[in-house]
């Protein structure tokens, strides 16, 4: 029997993209469990039993105080050792939208030096508004999750706090030098974006980041919302060449990485 790629999707009050994220992983053959954070903290479930940890989108705890803050603290204060072990074992993490905010605010991303606290943040959009819109993204860097993606992809964003701000110039330079910038907003023809192509005012147009290992990805856009062809906003104008959309490859990469490196 072929061992399964096991995905844990962590959810809590206000998590709300768990089902479509779960659907994406399951459709590509992974086995998925949606687990309440409480079950991990209480020891009813263990991170070590999974290969991929996914933090889906939503409004964890209402994004009260600041987006992702309370769940980020919960991870940092109650599960940090388990998460470190998980990373040390060469496993994968993906944080989408609220998940990216959580990973960043917990100091797991960009993770230049563990223990150094928060090195960046995702702050209010320049527009001061929540916005749901589709964005063009340039793929770059050395992230496991975005390997062999086309140079440019099309995904939706839906957030009010997605403006990437690094702690200082040095963080930004290190990210670029390390190839940790995975996705940047761009215009439809791949050029420099202005609003709304860069929907939130992110510095250096950063839409997604990975850690120094390339195995932890955080991104504001929603790949699980462009997993199927018919989720494309103008699919009725396009020829259907595949049942999948641009986001599917990201999930496939994660699963394939586990198959190639962690399952023997």
């Amino acid at each position: 029997m072929i061992p399964n790629v096991k995905v844990i999707i962590i959810r809590t009050a206000g998590t709300n993209c768990n089902e479509e994220t779960s659907f994406a992983f399951r459709s590509l053959g992974a086995s998925v469990e949606e687990v309440h954070i409480k079950a991990l903290i209480d020891g009813a479930r263990f991170l070590r039993d999974y290969h991929i940890l996914a933090l889906p989108g939503g409004f964890s705890y209402g994004d009260d105080i600041a987006s992702g803050r309370i769940l980020a603290n919960e991870l940092r204060l109650k599960l940090l050792e388990d998460i470190r072990q998980f990373i040390r074992e060469g496993k994968l993490i993906i944080g989408i939208c609220n998940g990216f905010q959580i990973l960043t605010k917990a100091g797991i991303l960009p993770g230049l030096e563990l223990n150094s606290g928060q090195e960046a943040t995702l702050f209010y959009n320049d527009s001061a508004k929540f916005e749901d819109r589709w964005v063009h993204l340039k793929v770059e860097g050395r992230c496991v999750w975005t390997r062999s993606l086309p140079q440019q992809i099309y995904l939706p964003v839906a957030h009010g706090e997605g403006k990437f701000i690094p702690r200082d110039r040095q963080v930004l330079e290190t990210l670029a030098a390390n190839g940790q910038i995975a996705l940047r907003y761009c215009s439809a023809d791949g050029g420099r974006p202005s609003y709304p192509d860069n929907p939130n005012g992110s510095m250096e147009n950063i839409a997604g980041l990975c850690d120094t290992t390339g195995r932890i990805l955080g991104l504001m856009p929603h790949p699980e919302r462009h997993f199927l062809f018919e989720q494309h906003p103008f699919w009725t104008r396009l020829a259907k060449k595949s049942p999948f959309g641009d986001g599917a490859k990201i999930f496939e990469n994660g699963i394939n990485y586990v198959k190639e490196n962690l399952l023997h």
Binding site: I65, D126, A128, R133, R237
Partner: protein, 962 residues
């Protein structure tokens, strides 16, 4: 001990929230000032100085961009000219409190007891006190829920509302036995019961038989159960209807049963699973699931506090879906609003009414907040602007849910426990049900402020998560939501057959000190009541605990047939359920419908350049792009959207119905649409109803739906039905609903009415125009075959489907020249049905590249929208448009709003096949899609009457509400 922590942004960090407040101030006519926002947290409890540093540093600030200060002795030196601090009123739920307390406990700091937040605005600019007052009341706060903190450096002694726990109390008895008629009405009025004399007399009689006087809570329970809001007395009572003052009246025994429900029962569709008697109508979906649909209004609360009103409106309709059958899972929201135009001068507003711009901003934000945080996509909606909504805006909130087959049946069993789950009970929203059964006055804001609330979507999301787990485990036999009337309504309804015994002191409270009647009728949000067999209670409580949702056993459905309430062991109510539910005296209301004498439209001199008229139609608020609203709603969460609200290569074209999948990975879906047109109703409510049904249906046909699988919802918003003219037009509207539903074979499955939408001001009663919203849900077999409205390819042919007539009455074209007109569009049901079936065949066969319905703005607007949405031009010949009417003029053909019409785009290779399907039906090739940006329409004399570029037209359409 109370600590005060202030969080501000570090120097050099852009403050987008402050900037947006500055824009709002600018809109009041001031120069935009520089505004910075400081977030204030008051933390009460046993917390040390070291702990407060940790709380601030690790929880309350974002260390990358923010800094904090605490323990302030003096107001901050900000250098700003004005500092205004706004906090929620005591008693209004602070949505941030619960999660902040959790965040603090996660830090290992357990001494925290209460948290309140405030916002401090630092405004740099020259303002007089009067101007600051204006800014405060118009931009920074709503005094119904918020207040200015006089001296921020003053720290209160306690944050809570807690009074002493109530253990000793008196049961209040109301002396009805001795009350004469006048006194009865005084009692009704003083208690905000909104009961009329007949009803008060019936109550007096009942208690005479019981040999005692009622307690206050008994009276409240009856008032709530018998309220218009809960009983729909107008729709279910008897009406004497006349069409002239001298005509003999027709007796209508239940308008509801003889129109709306009659159509459904005569049509007898086998796919209707449950109609009218549950929280939402249920229809079949696929072999494993059914779907349900409900639309409700939340007009009165939204008029007073737009954010909170719309917020709790969305929360309420979602709970309706959670309380349908044994709980459905919400799939999408649809929301429709009616406001006065944004440029309405403040002087034209009734006293006490909020400005429509403010109403709109609050309502839209309220919907955004609840829908987005619940993770339910808001996929479709409409906004109607008309000056008559200045005192009474309308807010319709709808939700579609999905539920496994078999889970639609609920039945309370004798011996089941009464379990309350979700939010705690506070003093919020007392008298909501009775309040919405009366007219608004300028005093409403003070009298009814308790009825206004702010929701907590995350609490409801937790309830949803836990509920679906408990449903799957089959742990309860019935469920309903706590809406208007709170526990009183929920328990009263569920226990109608069995009776119930409730210990009110077992309800979890937000704060101590609530009286028994307050607990019983409180409308605190995010609560549900379940009937749980005793053997399942342990497992059920465990599931809710795992999701951090509170659940409490309040009592038992005990088989007594009575409603018995206890508080600390003492009985406070003992009512016969059959009196409560069947004791309402029959009401007879008078209705008179007289056709209003209307001025016939006066058409302008025939013009050969109608481009300005097209631009005026595209720029009309009702037609103009709603993109700025749509984008702040998450319309894609859950991943189910197939036809999004915005389509085309620039994702900005206005699509018709929204289509979503029912389940990821399955091809079946539902299309959701709304039909609304108040101006047609000003001419004739019958044809308004028929036109709205037609509009909702044709939007579903436009995306690929089938006439055989469309169900309807009605939502009547009317003035005071105790006035014969208001009720007369309501009857006429309901008759139109009946006629349209029967003729199209589309049953109603649920509905709602909101009456008394009047605003009494200086003795003059201003009513809204009678408004019906028809919402439709259509089954889609295969979402992969859906069609959108954007032109796809140059060279394709453009077809007009359906016949245009001189139906300018109520049109945008006439409104733009200040007229209403008299010739309202009618519906030729027979031809329309044949057209819809033909279009269904055409879309299923893949013959159409695009399809768009013609509604407001007529043919001209539909064509222009298709062109600029697709980024393609068009050449159109008006003389080819199928036309039937007396005045064949360019403007009439272009702007008439005749029903049952579409524009279709057809590739050359499919034209023959299309002609075959449409044999004998009105269909004509009227033009060609062009690669260039020119949009040219040739008039009846072969000269261009419209000549514009699509980018110009798009700009005209996009700019009004940007």
């Amino acid at each position: 001990m109370i600590w005060r922590v202030e969080v501000r942004q570090k120097d050099g960090v852009l403050d987008p929230i402050g900037a947006s407040v500055a824009r709002d101030i600018c809109e009041l006519g001031f120069d935009a000032p520089d505004v910075r926002v400081v977030w204030v947290y008051l933390l009460e409890g046993d917390i040390s100085r070291e702990e407060i540093k940790r709380i601030a540093g690790e929880l309350l600030i974002d260390p990358v961009v923010e800094e904090y200060s605490f323990d302030l002795k003096r107001p901050p030196q900000s250098g700003s000219r004005h500092v205004i601090e706004i906090a929620y009123n005591l008693g209004v739920m602070d949505p941030v409190e619960a999660s902040t307390i959790k965040g603090i406990r996660d830090l290992g700091i357990m001494g925290v007891k209460a948290v309140r937040t405030a916002r401090q605005y630092h405004i740099d600019g020259q303002f007089s006190d009067k101007e600051l007052g204006l800014i405060t009341n118009r931009v920074l706060m709503n005094k119904l829920v918020q207040q200015v903190v006089g001296d921020p450096s003053h720290i209160p002694a306690s944050l809570g509302l807690s009074g002493p726990p109530v253990s000793k109390f008196d049961v209040l008895v109301v002396d009805l036995a001795a009350a004469k008629d006048r006194r009865l009405m005084e009692i009704s009025k003083a208690g905000q019961l909104y009961l009329n004399l007949d009803e008060m007399r019936a109550i007096r009689k009942y208690f005479k038989k019981e040999g005692r006087n009622p307690t206050d809570v008994e009276l409240e329970t009856i008032a709530q159960t018998w309220s218009e809001h809960c009983r729909h007395k107008t729709f279910r009572g008897t009406i004497r209807y006349r069409e002239s003052k001298t005509a003999r009246p027709r007796i209508i025994r239940s308008l509801f049963k003889t129109t709306i429900a009659a159509a459904t029962s005569k049509l007898n569709k086998k796919w209707c699973v449950s109609v009218f008697h549950d929280n939402a109508g249920i229809i079949s979906f696929d072999k494993d699931y059914n779907v349900c649909f409900k639309v409700e209004t939340h007009n009165h609360p939204s008029a007073l506090e737009p954010f909170g009103g719309a917020n709790t409106g969305v929360g309420g309709v979602i709970r309706d879906i959670l309380g349908t059958g044994l709980a459905a899972k919400p799939l999408c929201n649809t929301d429709v609003f009616c406001f006065a135009p944004p440029e309405t001068p403040a002087a034209d507003l009734p006293k006490g009414a909020l400005h429509p711009k403010r109403v709109m901003k609050g309502v839209v934000s309220g919907v955004r907040d609840y829908g987005n945080k619940m993770g339910i996509p808001t996929v479709n909606g409409a906004i109607v602007y008309d000056k008559h909504f200045a005192g009474n805006p309308l807010v319709f909130c709808g939700n579609v849910g999905i539920i496994p087959r078999g889970k639609e049946i609920k039945r309370v069993r004798q011996g089941d426990l009464v379990v309350a789950v979700g939010g705690r009970t506070g003093r919020d929203g007392i008298h909501g049900a009775t309040f919405s059964s009366g007219e608004l006055t300028s005093a409403s804001e003070t009298v009814s402020s308790g009825a206004v609330q702010i929701g907590n979507p995350i609490e409801e999301k937790k309830v949803l998560d836990a509920l679906l787990k408990a449903r799957q485990a089959g742990l309860y036999s019935a469920i309903t939501d706590c809406g208007a009337g709170g526990f009183s309504s929920a328990v009263g309804e569920m226990g109608e057959k069995t009776g119930a015994r409730i210990d009110l002191d077992r309800a979890p409270l937000k704060y101590q000190g609530l009286k028994y009647h307050e607990i019983w009728i409180s409308e605190s949000q995010e609560r549900m009541v379940m009937a749980v067999p005793p053997e399942n209670i342990e497992r059920l409580l465990k599931i809710f605990e795992a999701e951090n949702v509170e659940a409490a056993v309040l009592g038992e459905f005990d088989g007594s047939g009575r409603l018995q309430l206890f508080f600390h062991g003492q009985q406070v109510a003992d009512l016969d359920m059959s009196f409560l539910h069947d004791g309402l005296p029959q009401i007879v209301k008078e209705a008179l419908y007289q056709k209003t004498a209307l001025k016939k439209e006066k058409l302008p001199r025939r013009s050969l350049d109608l481009t300005p008229e097209l631009c005026a139609a595209l720029g009309h608020y009702n037609v103009a792009s709603k993109e700025s609203v749509i984008r702040i709603y998450d319309h894609e969460v859950q991943g189910t959207s197939v036809v999004k609200p915005l389509v085309g290569p620039c994702t900005d074209g206005p699509s018709d119905a929204a289509v979503i999948r029912g389940r990821l990975g399955h091809p079946q879906g539902v299309a959701v649409a709304n039909g609304i047109n108040v101006r047609f109703g000003m001419i004739d409510p019958f044809w308004m109803a028929a036109s709205c049904v037609d509009e909702a249906i044709r939007q579903i046909i436009a995306v690929g739906g089938s006439l055989d699988r469309i169900a309807l919802l009605d939502n009547f918003c009317w003035g005071n039905p105790d006035k014969p003219d208001r009720l007369g037009s309501l009857v006429r509207c309901a008759q139109g609903c009946y006629k349209a539903a029967m003729s199209f074979g589309t049953p109603f499955i649920s509905g709602k009415d909101s009456l008394y939408n009047e605003y009494t001001h200086k003795g003059k009663s201003l009513a809204i125009p009678g408004t019906i919203l028809i919402s439709a849900i259509g089954h889609i077999d295969d979402v992969g075959r859906c069609v959108t409205m954007d032109f796809k390819k140059a060279g394709n042919s453009i077809y007009a489907v359906g016949t245009t007539a001189d139906d300018l009455g109520g049109s945008i074209y006439l409104e733009n020249s200040g007229q209403l007109g008299s010739c309202v569009p009618k519906v030729d049901f027979k031809t329309a049905s044949r057209i819809y079936r033909a279009l269904e065949r055409a879309t299923k066969a893949g013959l159409l590249a695009s399809l768009h319905d013609c509604s407001e703005g007529g043919l001209a607007v539909a064509l222009a929208e298709m062109a600029f949405a697709g980024g393609l031009g068009a050449t159109v010949l008006l003389e080819r448009v199928p036309y039937k009417g007396k005045q064949r003029r360019e403007d009439v053909v272009l702007f008439s709003e005749s029903n049952s019409r579409f524009i279709a785009e057809v590739p050359g290779s499919q034209e023959k096949a299309l002609a075959k399907i449409f044999k004998g039906l009105p269909l004509a090739k009227i033009g060609t899609v062009e690669a260039g940006p020119e949009f040219i329409v040739y008039g009846l004399k072969d000269k261009p009457v419209i000549n514009a570029r699509i980018d110009e037209l798009k700009e005209v359409w996009k700019s009004p509400l940007r």
